[in-house]
Amino acid sequence: MSTVETSRGVESARPAMPDPARPRIPGEAGIWVFIGGETVAFTFLFVIWLYSHSQHPDLYSVGQQQLAVGFGAVDTLLLLASSLFVVIGVRAVRAGLRPLGPIAFAGGLACGLGFAISKVIEWGGHIAAGQVVQTNEFWVYYYALTGMHFFHLLIGMGVLGWCFLQARKPALSAQRFAYLEGGACFWHMVDFLWIVLFPLIYLVR
């Protein structure tokens, strides 16, 4: 790691403001291999859900009535807020606004934690009501899809924690900043996937 730290504190090492005239990829190209792969995998999940829904409309209509839409809605708001925090954080780091950057990333992390707690309470309620994976195909996919998303959320929280630590540094090299931006893109993907999952699981009848 120390090799890229040499430019720390040097004004010219600050990430440049984006030039609107030049096309630019946020983060580095490699992170988009990752995000593209994730999107494809979740597309499989969405298609599986829709196919299973069309095969068992009765199971799904009963199951969806038992879901707590309130939890889903709160989760959505939390993730939207977290994405906003992350956008503010990246901009603050780029502009060199010292206290705002880490605070914004901590805010994003707190929203992510809120989502995780809300999801665990939601699952706990269903399990207590006897609605478990083995109940029927609706619950198989409910737990599988929300579980897969939850796993990505946990990874994303680790990434945000790393972004928080980076944002606390006095200055970042352009390369470091690209990594930070890549981390932010990963978090936006976690948010985006939930934005698709929420209506799909809770609302589409």
Binding site: G30, L45, V133, Q134, Y143, A144, G147, M148, F151
Partner: protein, 271 residues
């Protein structure tokens, strides 16, 4: 760059053995897949929802073909170890003497090999006295095999995750593996994750015969092999040319005391 590669460089870098280990990878994956598909006929896998009697009937169709497929699988899957070894060797070029990620990746590759082999032996047990045993026992052994074969995916996840992190930590001007390969490995590690959850599911895409737990991880594993083989061969050739260029640049000097040369050779000398 266009200099012919010196024979002594080949010897010092052990490139013939390295290439041999790389080719162990495709031999392993294709021999195993052919045996698994055409002899064992485990693609598609027997459904977890199948009754014990149905399973025994399926195994009874051509028991010797399945036995042969399992024996071939047992031999071919051992080749995972040389393949993991050459991956770790190239990782050591990135990490230098304290090659913790390379070690973790190598050991995980070795464990993965064991986790591949044991389920085959359990299937062999199930078939050994197929007609004498209670169908329930055959079902249990088959369950055990699938749960081990697919469910113990964590070593594979750790192997590719270590490789991915190591590639991303390569900060030299011309990296040994491209950076996207680092992200690809971390993504693959995540994509294998659903296979670990098969104990919860008997139906659907997350059961051991489902899209997310079997077909997708398997397809990704195949693609990972192909990409990894190409990149390993490229990395080995690149190292040969690099060292040859250094040799020609320092004719008459004692190479052992040349600093960049040492940096390249120390990890290899260690292994």
């Amino acid at each position: 760059m266009t200099n012919p590669v010196d024979a002594t460089v080949k010897n010092r870098l052990n490139t013939r053995a390295q290439r041999l280990c790389v080719w162990a990878g495709p031999v392993m994956i294709f021999t195993w897949l052919l045996a698994f598909v055409f002899l064992c006929r485990f693609v598609p896998p027997p459904s977890p929802a199948m009754s014990a009697q149905q399973l025994v009937a399926k195994f009874g169709e051509d028991t010797n073909a399945i036995r042969l497929g399992l024996v071939i699988s047992l031999f071919s899957c051992s080749l995972l170890v040389p393949f993991s070894s050459v991956i770790a060797t190239q990782m050591r070029r990135i990490e230098g003497p304290r090659s913790v990620l390379a070690n973790a990746s190598l050991v995980s590759g070795g464990l993965l090999c064991v986790e591949f082999l044991l389920p085959f032996a359990i299937w062999q047990t199930a078939l050994y006295r197929l007609d004498e045993w209670d169908p329930k026992l055959v079902q249990m052994l088959n369950d055990m095999s699938w749960l081990m074969f697919l469910g113990i995916i964590s070593s594979a996840c750790v192997q590719v995750a270590c490789l991915g992190v190591c590639v991303l930590r390569d900060h030299r001007e011309e990296t040994i593996f491209p950076r996207w390969y680092g992200y690809l490995n971390i993504w693959i590690s995540i994509m294998w994750f659903p296979a670990g959850w098969i104990p919860f599911f008997k139906i659907g895409a997350f059961a051991w015969n489902g899209l997310m737990a079997w077909y997708l991880p398997l397809t990704i594993y195949l693609c990972w092999f192909i990409v990894t083989i190409v990149l390993l061969l490229r990395a080995i050739s690149h190292e040969e040319r690099e060292v040859t260029a250094l040799d020609l640049g320092h004719t008459g000097e004692t190479l052992q005391h040349d600093e960049p040369e040492d940096a390249v050779l120390t990890p290899l000398a260690q292994s």
